[in-house]
Amino acid sequence: MNSRLRWRKFVSNFMLTMTGICAVVAVSVLFFILGYLVYHGGTSINWNFFTKLPTPVGETGGGMANAIVGSAKLLLLASLIGVPIGFFGAIYLSEFSGGTVAFIVRYAADLLNGVPSIVIGIFAYDFVVLPFKHFSTFAGGFALGLMMIPITLRSTEGFLHAVPRELREGAMALGASKSRTIATVIVPAAYRGILTAMLLAFARVAGETAPLLFTSFGNRFWSPGWNQPTAALPEMIFRYALAPYEDWHRQAWAAGLVLLGLILVVNIIARGILARGNAVPRS
């Protein structure tokens, strides 16, 4: 073996090893984050965290019960906006339309998907907070719902498209109307994929903070109804992490652990649903 070849082989092995190291470094970040959150959050989390209100500044203890309920309300509202629009919009795109209208809807959805979350917050502020004259759960839910729409829409459409044509034709050959075909054949055939799409969209907005800063704003107490400012977990993490109190940092870690746990579990469930079989039956 001449020295030139040896050198080339050495370069090859060296560079390939480097790419492996890159991959390991990139993935290890996840375990580092998880480990750190479990370490810091795990020691700070307790029953009070889930059941108590935040204490006044200077007192230790207390919890984030109001933020947990607030997040749940925000996400419920977001789902009420994002899921139907995404789902029915996707049915229109995949089953009823073609050509220009579909192109415009897809384009708008992709555009909306790329809008930075802070800009969504500005829009929700202009559109909901200003007319109602105060920050509210409703405004926050609206902002999060907007962010859910393009994610559910585009992935649901993808899964509907993947339903084999023979299924549609079979149903129609049996005399079913188009709407009946969609409701009883196409959607059931793609339900795994659709469920995954919704769960992923849910997980995506569950951790969003930027659009909440000037819509739901934050609250150190319970937020009755839907028209009051409300606390939310991600927003509390932001405020508590930047505050100068040791006890608040502890709670920020706990909230981070709860939030990340929720998001990762939903993500894993969503991917598990897909992996348990084909998203849509093969033809």
Partner: protein
């Protein structure tokens, strides 16, 4: 397609198709109308968003004009608003992020697509997907309590002693600032670069690799001189996609950048990005001009990400379509 006749717009009965009335009775037309309304609302909301940003910044746009982008004074007390420090901050943090994320991300993507056995590649990709799902406020939390102290105590002093002759690594060390924000951003965008680049690399036809290997190239030479150039456009697309994320990223940056409207060559200096200044000042903005200037910043951010995302999609589309062809580049 057998179903074409029923998908024709309901302008009237089409020869060979069922009549409008019978389709109405079956619920088809109603279903069509309802789903159309949902789909149309997506377009409506997007248009409204653009309109609100445009309309909401009208005062600021008229008062400052193009000077808005060239003025570095941001003074709410005297109603003087210039976006230059924030544009600078967004640019610097994004460039730092890309300088770190591109080699790491593409390296990892090469490993996943070219080297790793399918099972390992899929498992690692699963973790990468989870990493992409970690919300930005969590990165901010870790940035505040881990990256900032690390930067202040070790990394920045070390950089200062070794590369202190460069203007980027001079000045007092705070821990927070452009460099820290750039590093946190890099960690956040790496998963996007990896996922998209991996897909692109996997779409490069097999014969390209085999031809290179058959000519006596080593594994690395076939990857670096044949496969990567073939996928170059798409990889560039993944970089643009990541850049759009970095530019629009708010929470993590806001928490570690230091929040001061400065323009400084030193990466150690605290700064502000477009997104972080909106996040910090929006609720405190008193006076119409102040608020409208912030909304104009939002408009700038929107346009920036719009352009970057559009470019990214185009580049990725071009490559994957070429790759899925017969393999003749």
């Amino acid at each position: 397609m057998a179903t074409t006749t029923t998908t024709v717009p309901s302008a009237g009965p089409v020869a060979g198709s069922r009549s409008f009335l019978s389709r109405l009775r079956d619920g088809d037309e109603i279903a069509r109308l309802i789903t159309f309304l949902f789909a149309a609302s997506v377009v409506l909301v997007t248009l409204l968003l653009v309109f609100e940003l445009w309309q909401g910044s009208v005062l600021a746009r008229h008062k400052f004009g193009f000077d808005f982008f060239l003025t570095k004074v941001w003074d709410p007390v005297f109603d003087q608003f210039g976006a230059l420090p924030f544009i600078y901050g967004t640019m610097v943090t994004s460039v730092v992020a890309l300088l770190i994320a591109i080699p790491l991300g593409i390296g990892a993507a090469i490993f996943l697509a070219e080297l790793a056995p399918q099972k390992i590649s899929d498992t690692l990709q699963f973790f990468i997907d989870l990493l992409a799902a970690v919300p930005s406020v969590i990165y901010g939390l870790l940035g505040v309590f881990i990256v900032i102290p690390l930067m202040r105590e070790y990394i920045q002093p070390a950089l200062k002693t070794t590369f202190g002759f460069l203007p980027f690594f001079q000045g007092p060390v705070y821990g927070m600032g452009f460099l820290t924000a750039g590093i946190v951003l890099a960690i956040m965008i790496i998963p996007y670069i990896i996922s998209v680049s991996r897909e692109i690399l996997l779409s490069v036809p097999r014969d390209q690799r085999e031809a290179a290997l058959a000519l006596g190239a080593t594994r690395w030479e076939s990857t670096w001189k044949v496969v990567v150039p073939f996928a170059r456009t798409g990889i560039l697309g993944s970089v643009f996609l990541a850049l759009a994320r970095a530019v629009g990223e708010t929470m993590a940056v806001t928490m570690v950048i230091g929040n001061a409207p400065t323009i400084s060559a030193s990466l150690f200096s605290p700064g502000d990005s477009i997104a972080s200044v909106i996040a910090n000042q929006f609720t405190e903005a008193t006076g119409d001009l102040y608020l409208q200037s912030l909304i104009e910043l939002g408009l700038v951010l929107f346009l920036l990400t719009f352009i970057l995302n559009g470019l990214a999609r185009l580049l990725i589309l071009v490559t994957t379509q070429r790759g899925s062809g017969t393999g003749l580049a």
